[in-house]
Symmetry: C2
Subunit: 339 residues, 2 copies
């Protein structure tokens, strides 16, 4: 890497002259500016980012901590964060917590030493189960703002971007009820997460309000064989005619299993799931889905963080919670257009 010093030497001027010339300072003579710029161009000079960071005490880098990058929803959020950040001149440093509290703490500590200006994160499963929040508070106290998305810690004061999980699940189940479904089950492998709980509550509320059936939940663990669990469930509950799947894959598996058992979808049974377009197209009929607009969640989170980072020092912004509205996409695994 070429430095200002080298350019200065070669041009027989001082370092500060070169610096000013490159930064279009008024002070420097036209001719000098021309010479400097020409040489800089030739050597492909670009100011050393690390030196700039040290000098200006900010890195223009955002630390992103996500629990699981193989989760399509989280990957999509990351995509949204990256795009927004890049557009606004920021880089992202990504750490994966693997749903572990320990790794989450470590990532926070490892990056909170000048490497990044702030964090965007989705709380790890273990952290939510143990309800730990000290590490977040400590980081914020160090002067590093945090934006949480999707799974958030309510007792931490920071910006948040969430989805209307409770509400949309409630509406989706209502929609199934209005198809005259009599026995609607709830499938979930995310019951330990804040969002999983919200979805479960939304389901229960709709069912209980309606008052014609009991709640019927199939809860699975990450390592379970979903096909087998779902099949067993269907065999035990032969009269189920509606499914609300709270995770990203059990909806598609539910359709395939139902078909396999000789049911017609959606004539005999309706299925709605939380998933992405690509996965929703892996069954025939395609899964009717609740779209979470993951990219937009990422973009909003990045926007909130960058706004806070670039705020004028006097104006302390209030913490904001942005709710990104979901959309019900009507594919073919339900009878009527949900909305």
């Amino acid at each position: 890497m070429i430095t200002l010093k080298q350019l200065a030497q070669e041009l027989n001027v001082s370092i500060s002259t070169v610096s000013k010339a490159l930064n279009n300072s008024e002070e420097i003579g036209e001719e000098t500016v021309r010479r400097v710029k020409e040489l800089a161009e030739r050597y492909n000079y670009s100011p050393n980012k690390v030196a700039l960071s040290l000098k200006q005490n900010k890195t223009k880098t955002i630390g992103v901590i996500i629990p699981d990058i193989l989760n399509h929803f989280l990957a999509k959020v990351l995509f949204g964060i990256e795009r927004e950040a890049t557009q606004r001149g920021y880089h992202i440093m990504t750490c994966i917590s693997n749903e572990s509290l320990e790794k989450e703490k470590e990532a926070l500590k490892l990056l909170a030493n000048g490497s990044v200006d702030g964090f965007i994160l989705c709380v790890a499963e273990e952290t939510q189960i143990k309800n730990e929040i000290e590490h977040f508070k400590k980081t914020i106290n160090q002067g590093l703002p945090i934006v949480m998305f999707d799974r958030v810690a309510h007792d931490v004061f920071c910006d948040k971007v969430i989805v209307d999980d409770f509400d949309v699940t409630y509406r989706a189940v209502k929609s199934l009820l209005s198809e005259n479904r009599k026995k609607i089950a709830f499938f979930s492998s995310v019951d330990d997460l804040s969002v999983g709980k919200l979805r479960s509550h939304g389901y229960k509320k709709a069912i209980l309000e309606h008052g014609q059936q009991d709640v019927l939940e199939l809860k699975m663990k990450k390592d379970d064989d979903y096909q087998q669990k779902i099949r067993a469930f269907f065999e035990e509950h032969r009269d189920v005619d509606g499914i609300l799947s709270a995770d990203s894959s059990s909806g598609v598996i539910a359709i395939n299993t139902a078909l396999h058992l000789g049911l017609k979808v959606p004539e005999d049974i309706s299925v709605i799931g939380f998933t992405s377009q690509s996965v929703s197209e892996l069954s025939i009929p395609k899964l009717t889905t609740i779209r979470q607009h993951a990219k937009q969640i990422g973009a909003s989170a990045a926007d909130l963080l960058i706004k806070r980072l670039e705020k004028k020092h006097d104006a302390l912004l209030d913490f904001k919670t942005t709710i990104v509205k979901t959309t019900l996409v009507n594919n073919q695994s339900t009878l009527k257009t949900v909305s």
Copy 2:
């Protein structure tokens, strides 16, 4: 963030004394070391990463440029990179090229200014089509090593990590032939990529060697409606009894479509695909798959890069190409155990 200077002031010693004490230098008195460490502990001191980077002229950060983070394979490689890097004390800065040459160039330039010590990347689709390599060479000439994985530019001298795409496809098709399949088709939506071409060649070689049928390829574009294309294909070629799917989703869709059309899988038709476990479980029967060990690809790439970054200055390492062996996983969409 607390600095050495502040600690020094509070302890009434010099900055270098504090520095040395914290770095366990022999020079400093026991008592002083104790006092320094205690205060550092209390203030939660951690050396400023940016200052260290500037001083030591290395950032312990790896730039990762991937074409598409929503591609499950690539996400998994990224996961492998992140894990290996973290374990060895490196951070990763992730940029997404979106399959665009322009964005790839920009990412390279944006990070090659001291932000990272080297790159791990998967060549963008557009770059492969246009066969551009100057930006890679330039980066390497600037002293920043590159490791390429999966899709590589052959004419760039650097470390590479690839999969035996040609070979494994050849063997997979052979395996279908040994099931006595008479008309085996090749489905691909990755035909513009180097890996897609290798897979296609592997298929063709096996078919042509066998000599009993013509090659039969269904090529799709990213934005196509795969279900529709595949269904049309089946309707046109009613006698197809084997499918080799070269991308991550058409295999599952092929199974579902075949079932939908009344075929039995695998009795009437066998299907093998390149995909991940989670996707392979989205059909009944589950898709027989070629596992690419994406995590290991990522780990190998990180290992190669870090080795190069940390090599002693005298020993210039030769460029290595690591081939990560695929595995054929026998699920239920083929008749016999493939191997």
